[in-house]
Subunit: 208 residues, 2 copies
DNA sequence: GTCTATATCATGATAGAC
DNA sequence: GTCTATCATGATATAGAC
């Protein structure tokens, strides 16, 4: 299943990942991938029949990597607040290790989402149980009442978005100070956890 | 400055906006823009020397439209909480009217951010006064202490991100039920305002 | 499996008639 | 200003030798 290191196939996959992530499907050039892999164009087509196939292989690999780590947390039986905290930690952990994935996914999502849809279906991704889980915690009074979908989207937005807009964030807010940007990302997990918990904690003081 | 309606130039700009926003710079085809405008390719080059020039004209127009509406709110002299509420309202208002802009900007941002940087510089966009403004409110005890940059990013993330991932949100969460998705977007402003205010309100009960 | 050489095609851009 | 016809380039993809 997984190509061995040092094999040509492995080298192609690594090269393709770099180029596709940097340039996207339409921006990537087969010549560039071949150069990066140290082989010629013809070999790309020998191993992967077309550019599209190669692209799908890369995309699929990225999802396969990140997805299980997150579902594992979501299916634990912790209480809702610590589950949220664990989710944010796990998510930010992935994002800091692979900061260019959100930009890549975002670009392809808005170019042609059908490939992503296929993967979603293939992996049987279904957020409904998560929403139900959140709703139960609300009904038990553990956190404030709100639409679970909005809560989930709020959390995911705060995790992913700063990575998806990395270039503009770096330029506008941090004046290209890379270290400051990395520090900022490193702080995100704690900030988001605190922010979310504050927002959803049940407060008996104010009954609107 | 602005092209008159019914003029060829205007038709080109409208067509180009549609195609560029839908397909992005690299995905868009000059032929498709010409077809959409009801003219031929040669005329595109007569009015705008190159594809790149045409693209810049469109991109610039989009920023010019949205940016002033937001800065106006930010420079008002309301107190911080109502300023945040006004900002969220104004932002969501723009996004609901032009739901495909975030996906477009996100794609181009991750393809070649230099164009955006130029616009940022040209418009003199600088978030520092906003951060300072937030910090002052914190020091006055109006809201809890936190890094203003994180607070700003949190708010913007929750506003924009759901639009940037519209296709996957529509498919995964709403099973392609367009009406449900529109309702969801319509609820966002109220949800975000409440969420943020809850998160940053000063709570004397719990002193951690 | 790997290479060189080439086929095939689509695109952005231009020349020149009207 | 608008059109038709065409160029030049660069892309994916394939054929065939080794």
């Amino acid at each position: 299943m997984v190509a061995k290191k040092d094999s040509t196939e492995y080298k192609i996959l690594e090269a393709a990942k770099n180029v596709f992530v940097a340039k996207g499907m339409e921006g990537a050039r087969m010549q560039e991938i071949a150069d990066e892999a140290g082989i010629n164009k013809a070999l790309l087509h020998y191993y992967f029949r077309s550019k599209e196939r190669l692209f799908e292989a890369i995309f699929s690999e990225i999802i396969k990597y990140a997805f299980p780590k997150l579902t594992k947390v979501l299916h634990s039986d912790s209480d809702i607040t610590s589950k949220i905290e664990q989710f944010v930690d796990a998510y930010l952990n992935i994002l800091i290790k692979h900061p260019f994935i959100p930009g890549f996914v975002m670009k392809e999502l808005n170019r042609d989402p059908s490939g992503l849809f296929k993967l979603v279906t293939k992996f049987g991704i279904d957020p409904q149980p998560v929403f139900k889980n959140i709703k139960e915690a609300m009904d038990k009074g553990e956190i404030v009442q709100m639409d679970p979908r909005h809560l989930a989207i709020n959390i995911i937005s705060m995790c992913v978005f700063p990575f998806a807009v990395r270039p503009i964030l770096s330029f506008v807010v941090f004046k290209d100070d890379k270290q400051a940007l990395e520090n900022f990302y490193a702080e995100r997990a704690e900030v988001i956890k605190k922010f979310v918990i504050n927002a959803i904690v049940v407060n008996n003081e104010e009954n609107e």
